[in-house]
Amino acid sequence: EPEVTQTPSHQVTQMGQEVILRCVPISNHLYFYWYRQILGQKVEFLVSFYNNEISEKSEIFDDQFSVERPDGSNFTLKIRSTKLEDSAMYFCASGYDEQYFGPGTRLTVT
């Protein structure tokens, strides 16, 4: 059964450093998403991506965030200058009405 994969599973970084989170969506899906979940809180929408451009973004997705589909399979989320409050679980998803989520990357900013 096809699934969304994410790497790394856990990333520790220092405040101010750049991080890139990677995702491989399900191959025939056209919509891709990033969500985050701070420990004990709701899953929050960050951004959706369709046809090689951002379809929609939330107020959380400010200038420090960017997304890219560098090739035919990968989908990345870059955080330019991490802050302590960026510590969270980041989920990639693909699909449309049925969104399939990856296992997540736990980002810890120290």
Binding site: V43, F45, S48, Y50, S55, E56, Y100, F101, P103, G104
Partner: protein
């Protein structure tokens, strides 16, 4: 502002004891309502999409229903493996793709 409220926050049931989880929503126009299951430390797992009031969907011991203001997830004769957090989410007609999640109901089934 679009909003999703789930109740109860936590629910403990005995194996075989049926119950319902509630999801109340406020949205300018509903495009779709979604139910997900989330196990600790994992990503949400898609369960159902409902589009219009009166619609029902079933999968094994789970049945989701939708009215104009709320959705219910009915769980019949649950088993310990049904223990998880159940998330409700909505997408507004004004949104191309953004979905808004509720805080979830943490369900625990005792053997």
């Amino acid at each position: 502002e679009d909003q999703v409220t789930q109740s109860p926050e936590a629910l403990r049931l005995q194996e075989g004891e049926s119950s319902s989880l509630n999801c109340s929503y406020t949205v300018s126009g509903l495009r779709g309502l979604f139910w997900y299951r989330q196990d600790p430390g994992k990503g949400p797992e898609f369960l159902f999409t409902l589009y219009s009031a009166g619609e029902e969907k079933e999968k094994e011991r789970l049945k989701a229903t939708l009215t104009k203001k709320e959705s219910f997830l009915h769980i019949t004769a649950p088993k310990p493996e049904d223990s998880a957090t159940y998330l409700c989410a909505v997408q507004a007609t004004s949104s191309a793709s953004k979905i808004i999640f509720g805080s979830g109901t943490r369900l625990s089934i005792r053997p």
